[in-house]
């Protein structure tokens, strides 16, 4: 069993920095929690591979905000696309449910309404369709590619074609 005398758990990030975090925060990281529970002896320091100190800073920020009931104020706007993906991977590794949902939603928000080409580039995916296959799929869902055909409406709805 891990040392229960102290309320702080030491986590060592990939770049060697040691963070002393509250036990409650460590509990939100299911990966870390599993390591603690599996340990026979006291664990003094838990290494978290794949997580860097700049990730931990943001994780601690989020934790503080959510404890204060202000989790909606947490923002990842300042992160560029690659930094956001990086952070998402770290949180995924640590298996933190709430923050994971926040981040996947943040990525989805950035991708919403973007084009097929943009999304491919974002995920680094290659188009493996032949030109004929691609043309066939595009044709099948042609209406989905047309811009929002929203017509302005006043009190009376127009009888549209």
């Amino acid at each position: 069993m891990a040392s229960s005398s102290s309320n702080l758990i030491s986590l060592k990030t990939s770049d060697g920095t040691v963070f002393k975090v509250e036990r409650a925060l460590a509990k939100t990281m299911k990966t870390v929690q599993a390591i603690i529970e599996e340990a026979d002896a006291n664990i003094y320091m838990i290494p978290i591979h794949n997580v860097f100190s700049h990730h931990m800073d943001m994780i601690i920020d989020y934790y503080k905000l959510s404890v204060a009931g202000k989790s909606k104020e947490f923002s990842v706007e300042k992160l560029d696309n690659d930094e956001l993906k990086d952070f998402l991977l770290a949180v995924h590794y640590l298996n933190m449910e709430d923050l994971f949902e926040v981040l996947t939603q943040a990525v989805a928000d950035r991708l919403e309404k973007k084009s097929v080409g943009y999304v491919r580039k974002y995920f680094g995916i290659e188009n493996d369709f032949t030109p004929e296959e691609y043309a066939a799929i595009r044709k099948k869902n042609d209406w989905a590619f047309k811009g929002d055909d929203i017509e302005p409406e006043e009190d009376e709805e127009k009888q549209e074609e």
Binding site: D82, F100, T104, I150, E153
Partner: protein, 439 residues
């Protein structure tokens, strides 16, 4: 990973062409030897290719299923594993997902997969309104979709259907439509998902002569992960005229059920209830379809007839103990946040725990009667409640013809945020979903 260069001599020929036909035995030995060597070389080739593919498997690419992604140093681009991509995609709008089927082959199969549709549905929060009807200029059936946020028309589809089309039910973003053939004895049924504009024809119901369509419903059975359509046929001269006489809507009725994926309608056990009138379009809630049944107009007694699609059983669900609070003469049954919702004049009740009468909770009261926006209408009836305190009201207007006007009304700010949709036919509310895409 650097490429491994392997040079193998493919055609290892021990026998040089200059050998003369000296001795056959020498030649045979040489052939045996070259065969052995060839065999050894082939084995070596196989072993090498196995080890290369093992090394390749350790390289994680975006299209592999893997729980741990490649987390590299900040200078190189992070690639997300496939299951993270699934999490992100299931939060995108349906129209965009249809476009993203063009990204690559694995995304095309993912987005068309029914399991992905279920995951997306669980996270979907976008609703829109859909109506069916006809207009004077065009004899074809018009299916019109409206965005809830702006109440503007977002789509219009024409179908060359001549018969009388009605909504049989709505579930998980799919509407079930029934068309009565003019003078025929077939009742044509089709499913329609307006957000992906996909239709699916179902086998028609054979309706015995002088029978007509009564209660109906469409729902999802979570136990068998499948959809069912329920249709009740009533002898024509029993309803309305004889209802007062027999006092029972349910006498001599027949129940037919169709399970999606099968090719027929099966007869089903009849409702074990009695009642005078029924709100005919069933409301789907968590594996059950529910209909409001009126027992007596004068005393205003009602109950909810429920059909459980999983164990195929009927149940009576009771209304809240009213003691005057629930006005049974102006009731409407609908669904709010996956719970049965009862609208009684201006009061909204929600059944928090399905089947448990004590869990009926009065959520709020809609006071629109004094609002100038709605004062010119009569017979105002709340039809649907949305999560952001907006209510869909159906009002009657009389400007020449009597028709319905649907108003999206914000309960909190009562001044002028109502939007109007004028329609001559009923509207259904639908959530955005990918269900039916795989068909």
């Amino acid at each position: 990973m650097k490429g491994i260069q392997i040079q193998l001599f493919d055609d290892f020929d021990v026998c040089s062409p200059s050998l003369t036909e000296e001795t056959n035995s020498t030649k045979r030995q040489a052939t045996k030897f070259s065969l052995m060597v060839r065999g050894l070389i082939n084995m070596l080739k196989i072993l090498c290719s196995i080890s290369i593919s093992i090394i390749n498997k350790k390289n994680i690419s975006t299209n592999r299923r893997n729980l741990i992604g490649t987390l590299t140093s900040p200078s190189s681009l992070p690639t997300l594993p496939f299951d993270l991509i699934i999490e992100i995609l299931s939060r995108l709008p349906v129209k965009q997902l249809l476009q993203l089927r063009c990204v690559c082959k694995s995304w095309k199969s993912l987005i068309s997969d029914p399991k992905f549709a279920k995951k997306h549905l669980a996270l979907s929060t976008t609703y829109s309104l859909h109506g069916i009807g006809r207009n004077y200029y065009c004899p074809e059936l018009v299916l019109k979709s409206y965005s809830l946020n702006s109440s503007v028309s977002i789509a219009q589809i024409h179908l060359p259907l001549k018969g009388y089309v009605r909504v049989l039910g709505s579930c998980n973003g799919v509407l079930c439509l029934g068309e009565e053939e003019d003078g025929g004895d077939l009742f044509l049924v089709r499913l329609w998902n307006p957000s992906i504009r996909k239709f699916k024809e179902l086998p028609p119901v054979r309706k015995p002569h002088s029978y007509q369509l009564g209660m109906r419903g469409f729902g999802y059975n979570p136990i068998s992960d499948n959809y069912k359509v329920v249709v009740v046929l009533l002898p024509s001269d029993d309803v309305e005229d004889n209802a007062e006489y027999t006092g029972n809507y349910f006498s001599n009725h027949e129940v037919k059920v169709h399970t999606l994926g099968t090719d027929s309608w099966k007869s089903f056990s009849v409702f074990p209830f009695a009642g005078l009138f029924v709100q005919e379009v069933g409301q789907y809630v968590s594996g059950t379809i529910n209909w409001l049944v009126y027992m007596d107009i004068m005393q205003g007694q009602c109950f909810i007839a429920s059909l459980d699609l999983g164990d195929e059983s009927y149940q009576k669900v009771l209304l809240p103990d009213d003691s005057g609070e629930v006005d049974q003469h102006t009731l409407d049954l609908s669904v709010f946040k996956d719970c049965l919702c009862l609208i009684s004049r201006e009061d909204v009740w929600v059944m928090k725990e399905y089947g448990n009468k004590e869990s009926w909770t009065k959520l709020f009261t809609i006071s629109y009667m004094r609002d100038h926006c709605t004062s010119s209408y009569y017979n105002i009836h709340p039809k649907y409640i949305f999560e952001d305190d907006r209510v869909l009201l159906r009002c009657c207007c009389c400007e020449g013809d009597v028709y319905y006007k649907y108003i999206s009304y914000n309960c909190n700010c009562k001044n002028g945020t109502s939007k109007f949709i004028k329609v001559g036919y009923t509207l259904e509310v639908c959530i955005e979903s990918l269900i039916l895409l795989c068909f």
